[in-house]
């Protein structure tokens, strides 16, 4: 295992964390969308993420491209193993995009309700599939000697992956609720406060359940903590971040709550990486797992892409910063809104 291979494992982790934090809140807003009442409220929830969701999704595209480039074996195995779930994920991403885009284009009530349901459902399915994928990655999938998937469709929907899937939906809902609280005001905001509390407790319960099931279904997930006991610090910080969410909500400081939920998601992605490393696809059979070393591209490519990332990262930060700055503050409906 070379330094460059580890670097790319870390970069993928950063991209995944960036994606989970950023698209996480707009997916979460989607999950909660149907709780908004009436056309005005629903337009407000959609437009709270209106200018941002598209840019957030680019993190996924870049994550996919980086995985393809840095670890093509893992990219090929994971996507072909999870064929139908990935196809459903892609449909949901399409469904979400067009729901946002088309919903407010006609005044008809049936039209708008249809797209509201489609938006909310597709958002939930996207997060669910990501969670199921993460659960499978941690627990392991059956591989053959050529690192091809050797299981069937139903093998992907075990208890553990489904639990992680539900946990992911709850996390996104909580994260989205806090974001929405920041973006709204008045009556809607008062009700979003209720969503925040409820989704937080669902999140907490599923967090506990997932943590409890992990030693049962994926005992190897804790191996790395023996090598690097310092990683427990991240666990401790994670607990503090989670605890700070209700505290900040209670004290009426939603910005802190949002920062805490961002930190929580970042810590969860870190723990996900800890559970995997040095594997990328854990094998549940006798065949070897795909590891950071065995799945990687050549050193030349990894180095080349490290340069590309070094040039690109500051640019990406700048664009993201500009957009979030221009669209800061409470959501307002204007002529250009969805």
């Amino acid at each position: 295992m070379s330094g460059l291979q580890i670097l790319w494992f870390v970069i993928l982790g950063v991209l995944l964390a960036g994606y989970a934090i950023l698209d996480g809140f707009d997916l979460g807003v989607g999950v909660l969308h149907l709780f908004a009442r009436g056309d005005r409220e629903r337009r407000l929830t959609i437009n709270s993420i209106g200018p941002l969701w598209d840019g957030n999704e680019v993190w996924l595209v870049t994550f996919g491209g980086a995985l393809f480039a840095a670890f093509p074996e893992a990219y090929a195995t994971i996507l072909s193993a999870m064929y139908l779930p990935v196809i459903v994920l892609l449909f949901s991403l399409i469904g979400r995009a067009i729901s946002i885009e088309f919903r407010s284009k006609r005044p008809s009530r049936a039209w708008r309700t249809y797209w509201d349901v489609s938006f909310s459902l597709s958002s939930a399915v996207v997060v669910l599939v990501f969670g199921v994928a993460a659960g499978n990655a941690i627990a392991g999938i059956p591989l053959d000697a050529d690192a091809e998937y050797a299981g069937g469709l139903l093998d992907l929907f075990g208890v553990y992956p489904l639990t992680v899937g539900a946990f992911a939906v709850a996390t996104a809902a909580m994260h989205g609720a806090i974001f929405l609280y920041l973006k709204t005001e008045g009556e809607l905001q008062a009700r979003v406060r209720g969503w925040m509390w409820r989704s937080f407790f669902v999140f907490l319960a599923l967090y506990a359940l997932t943590t409890g099931l992990t030693p049962v279904y994926a005992p190897h997930a804790f191996d790395n903590f023996e090598h690097w006991p310092a990683a427990w610090i991240v666990v401790a910080l994670n607990v503090l971040a989670v605890a700070n969410i209700p505290r900040a909500i209670h004290h009426g400081r939603p910005t802190y709550a949002f920062v805490s939920s961002c930190c929580t998601i970042a810590a969860l992605v870190f723990l996900f990486g800890m559970a995997l490393f040095p594997n990328l696809v854990v094998s549940s059979t006798d065949a070897p797992s795909l590891t950071v070393a065995s799945a990687a591209s050549s050193e030349t490519t990894l180095k080349l892409m490290a340069y590309i990332a070094a040039i690109g990262a500051p640019l990406v930060m700048t664009y993201t910063g500009i957009v979030y700055w221009v669209f800061r503050g409470k959501v307002r409906l204007t002529k250009e809104s969805y």
Binding site: P51, D54, V58, A76, A81, S297, T300, I308, L315, E336
Partner: protein, 476 residues
């Protein structure tokens, strides 16, 4: 019955990529129109150009969103359906795809928000900058994707390494990969194709308004801008197409032979079929109209024979019918664009452009043609590469995912067909609504030199759209 996974996966890829490619060329081409429209507004301060730019932006936003949604599918489909291919090319192909994400998509989607939602939030100059960045982003995107695709046609800058799971291509020279023999020719071709599409799109809408006597002031300006740009792009396309064919004779002779229905090399100068219907079984072209010696003249400038399909081993030959037909459709339409736009320019020069109603109607409908030409060109080049997925290195039949059962691919094709049909219907419907709604006229006192004229026009367009006042409440 055993399902043919290779055939199904090819069908699915063809379906998803062809539907996807309805949208990006319009994003690029309409983006170019928006940059020019807004630049003219900045220079002249004429609010009519601003109205037009805002209108194009609204259409652009819908098109862009659908393009992104269908594009994400493409990125993951390499892994879902073509896992063996992904393992083989990841080392080379991946860096181009990752560059696209980092350099193009972030730029595009970031500034898209400012472009669409930022009209009243940022200054004029900042907004123009955002438009420019979105356009550049879409161009960068095409740069990286065309480079990656061109590498599949003319691979360079790599070596083959044997590994546990099989051989794979590893990069040795990044710039040789980027500037592979076909990438720059093809990039120019793709961009010009998009520019022509964007210009015909704006011309179609503007011609419609002129014919219906709506938004005359805006529509005439928009039409002329589109016409000038389409004429220049169409003429440049002639140069680009020619340089591509010459390069093709050198890089992929079998593909050129398939395009031209050129089965037997023969002696002396090779003829060029202007039209015809090739028959692969008998290796002849029926109903062929040929220009004697023209192909040799175009490729070599003399009467050197051009290599026919007989120079390629039978197992490595591409099919002929589909590449031949699509290639000829594309070339024919390209010539048509030159003819149509030059006619338009001539009438503009004579001051009769907007008096020939039949010609305006032709322009209303002509927007379909660049779509057909873009699609036909891609079908020709991709089918012409067969039986290879990476030319000379990996066969398409060896490239599919081994672990995916045919039933699942069949199921996903059914789902894709259903969703994409609905998607295209929605796209047409929403675009149509937006076009019927039309641009918002600029405030009367600033519209023209005389306020009276502007307000009359406003009144006229208001009458033409009785629902407009009501719609603006709901219509974003």
């Amino acid at each position: 019955m055993e399902l043919d996974v290779v055939l199904l996966s090819r069908l699915q890829f063809a379906l998803t990529v062809m539907v996807h490619y309805l949208f990006p060329p319009l994003s690029i081409g309409l983006g170019a129109q928006m940059v020019m429209t807004e630049a003219i507004y900045l220079r002249t301060g004429d609010r009519r150009w601003e109205s037009l730019a805002r209108f194009w932006t609204r259409l652009f936003a819908v098109n862009f969103a659908v393009g992104v949604a269908t594009g994400i599918v493409m990125e993951f489909e390499f892994g879902t359906n073509w896992a063996t291919y992904s393992r083989f090319v990841g080392d080379v192909f991946g860096s181009a795809l990752a560059s696209e994400g980092i350099f193009a998509f972030f730029l595009e989607s970031g500034f898209l928000a400012v472009l669409v939602f930022g009209w009243d939030r940022v200054g004029k100059r900042m907004h123009f900058f955002a438009t420019l960045m979105v356009f550049l982003g879409s161009v960068f995107s095409s740069v990286w994707i065309v480079i990656a695709n061109s590498w599949m046609h003319t691979p360079t800058g790599f070596h083959i390494v044997e590994r546990g799971g099989g051989p794979r291509a590893e990069i040795v020279d990044f710039w040789a990969m980027v500037f592979n023999p076909s990438s720059m020719h093809r990039l120019g071709h793709v961009l010009l194709g998009a520019f022509i599409l964007g210009a015909f799109f704006t011309m179609s809408i503007c011609a419609f308004y002129v014919l219906r006597d709506r938004h005359q002031e805006l529509a005439r300006r928009g039409f002329k801008l589109g016409l000038a740009f389409a004429a220049v792009s169409s003429l440049l396309m002639l140069v680009s197409g020619h340089s591509q064919a010459v390069a093709l004779a050198h890089n992929q002779p079998a593909k050129l032979a398939a395009f031209e229905g050129h089965f037997h090399t023969g002696e002396g100068a090779t003829d060029l079929y202007v039209m015809g219907w090739p028959d692969e079984a008998s290796e002849t072209v029926s109903f062929g109209v040929a220009m004697p010696g023209m192909l040799s003249f175009l490729v070599y400038g003399d009467d050197t024979p051009v290599a026919g399909l007989d120079q390629t081993p039978p197992e490595d030959r591409p099919p002929v019918l589909v590449p031949f037909v699509t290639y000829h459709v594309m070339v024919g339409l390209g010539m048509g664009f030159i003819g149509l736009t030059l006619l338009g320019l001539f009438l503009w020069w004579r001051g009769q452009l907007f008096e020939r109603r039949w010609l305006l109607w032709v322009f209303v409908g002509a927007v379909i043609l660049p779509y057909v030409a873009n699609q036909a060109g891609w079908v020709a080049t991709e089918v012409g590469r067969q039986p290879w997925i990476v030319y000379g290195l990996l066969r398409t039949s060896d490239a599919v995912s081994r672990s995916v059962p045919g039933e699942q691919v069949l199921g996903s094709i059914a789902l894709f067909s259903f969703i994409y049909l609905a998607l295209m219907a929605l796209w047409v419907f929403v675009m149509n609504e937006k076009i019927k709604h039309g641009p918002d006229e600029p405030p009367a006192e600033e519209a023209g030199p005389k306020g009276e004229r502007g307000s009359l026009l406003d009144a006229a367009s208001g009458l033409a759209e009785p629902s407009r006042g009501l719609m603006s409440e709901d219509e974003p």
